[in-house]
Symmetry: C2
Subunit: 414 residues, 2 copies
Amino acid sequence: MKGNVIVGQSGGPTAVINSSLAGVIKAARVNGIEKIYGMHHGIEGFLKEDLIDIGEYITEDSDLALLKRTPSAFLGSCRYKLPQIEGNEDVYDKMFDIMEKYDIQYFFYIGGNDSMDTIKMLSDYALLKGKTQRFVGVPKTIDNDLPITDHTPGYGSAAKYIATSMKEIIRDNESFGASKPTICVVEIMGRHAGWLTAASALCRGEDCSGPDMIYLPEVAFDMDDFLARVKHLAETKSSVVIAVSEGIALADGTFVCELGGGSDAVDAFGHKTLSGCANVLTQKIAEVTGCKTRAIELSTLQRCATHVASRADIDEAYNCGYYAFKAAKNDETGVMVVMRIRDREVYTVSYETFDIHEIANVEKKIPREWIINNGTDIGQQYIKYASPLILGALTPYYSRGIPKHLTLANKKVK
Amino acid sequence: MKGNVIVGQSGGPTAVINSSLAGVIKAARVNGIEKIYGMHHGIEGFLKEDLIDIGEYITEDSDLALLKRTPSAFLGSCRYKLPQIEGNEDVYDKMFDIMEKYDIQYFFYIGGNDSMDTIKMLSDYALLKGKTQRFVGVPKTIDNDLPITDHTPGYGSAAKYIATSMKEIIRDNESFGASKPTICVVEIMGRHAGWLTAASALCRGEDCSGPDMIYLPEVAFDMDDFLARVKHLAETKSSVVIAVSEGIALADGTFVCELGGGSDAVDAFGHKTLSGCANVLTQKIAEVTGCKTRAIELSTLQRCATHVASRADIDEAYNCGYYAFKAAKNDETGVMVVMRIRDREVYTVSYETFDIHEIANVEKKIPREWIINNGTDIGQQYIKYASPLILGALTPYYSRGIPKHLTLANKKVK
């Protein structure tokens, strides 16, 4: 095939974002692409012409196998929003100049809803100026908040990590409680969408009753009702574990984490930093119940615990990357790869593309009717939806007792 | 053999405390013991005659295999210190009455240095009163702070979890940093001993440079020196990750976590709750460097992440339990099982016993000469010491994508 490939990774990393990269690389190789470039730190690096010749790092299929077992963005990531086209044509002209200089015909960007804006802007500009390059987005986010696609690569592994850790935390919490229960509040990522927090329910089964309550940001948080419910649990149970989303907010929009004097920090996409609501809640719980409390933030491990990644997720991430190349080869542009579930019981996925304009900057939340028990739990529709996404494992390559990774720093071919 | 067995679990759980329980049970069965009782919530439950007939829950070897894969204390744990003998003979007489009622001849307690006090008191009282029961301690603590034994069951798995998570966190942190580094401070358990925090160094290798600095509680913490070093790292690196022990303290004894207005809470053994130093440090780092910061507490997952437990640790925990029974059968009492490393390269362990009076309530810290670079790192002696302890894995029994556990609630034989 004529023309070269460039691929970038953007936004918060996931446990499987490198599997999507592996899929793009494999498809390009199979189709005889000469050069595959990587953007070093996404579009921010691309603008500085900071490109990586992937052929210097990844030569064998065994490299791809190790890449699939490596968390976080192998190429480096960024949070960078392209400016509007009008009045900033020079920025766009520069990017197309770089593409022409390196004979780049196929442009892939692996990212979430903010990052898909980059695909939208570049494909719009190409259309405007009659450029022939193809721009295809590859979905990625642990938050699972991209529209159109059934779910996003990265979510299944984060969900598996959360369900596994939640079960282990519940087990730990149950070990005490002979006289009074310990009350544990586990804070889970996901911003304004409750998908990750809902995953804590996946640990329910014959050997685990799961979290006692689950609070998602889709429902306004009522502090008095919450404390009354916790008080009742403390009086009737020997162990209490509650899952809360970092993004829960009162009816007036105040985030619970802000009640503890949280920071006003925002990221490059203008999003507020949400963290600390478990600490706020455990302080109040201790006052009301007199019980020992514990606040646990699952933190970044939710997006990088590849050692316990979902095999289903790794395979789907890889396939999304591979399919993105096929779509570009078929002259598609201004689209993102989406997954459709043909059958959720005999689990069957198909890969398609969808107009990027319907996807960029749109946030998909949990359907309100899936949230049950007055906003304190998640129902069976969610369990049915998410169960196939956490199945299977890909054994890490252990060396000296811990998983081995592929990195730019250690893999450069001489 | 004549007489029954009782076994209890005490103190903070670990990923492998149930493997030690499995070892005691297997040894008792092999030796034809009729009844094996468990203390429900340790000595606290025993005092209330809250006993579990283990034969009603665990019948097959496959139950023991699942028990080994189950985190936290299967029997329930407690933090309970027996009163001094003088003036409290009624408490002790009651305990021996219970033993006689259930024909208990062999008493095993799986715990750390506080819990070994229970073995000491009971064996002392038996000696005093001419009782024939045998009391043997089985070592357990993620903190690795028990004396005499080379290391403690529970430590290897916690160390493996910490090294694995630290490597994944470093990978995640490296993905950004195109312009300015993110500075991440990871808070690790261990109270006044730095063994767990030192384990963060085990992720160093050809694919990972490890934490940039490691701060242990064995050395007084100098805030000005720390901030100057972080400032220098922030100016020269694109990613900075620092490991700190929860128990680091200034030269005057003030815990760093207290500088943030931490709580004065103490546990049942009278130990202060140490938590929050990473938050204190990241706030100061943000002021000094202007960089984005992140505080991560690895929290209770350090002691319950059986899904990534060390095989070496699981096997040693099991052997310690098994050997405890053999010792009691050989008429030993008032002792704890200890591990001696015959060869650290061709890794060879032997199991022995040691006088409980030299062990109970004693805390073993990291040798000062192992701590290098002005108290900011750990040297090769530690790596040589700890490397064999994290080797190997025991695959979880996965069901619906997450590890299966054995619990009292779901396993009761009808």
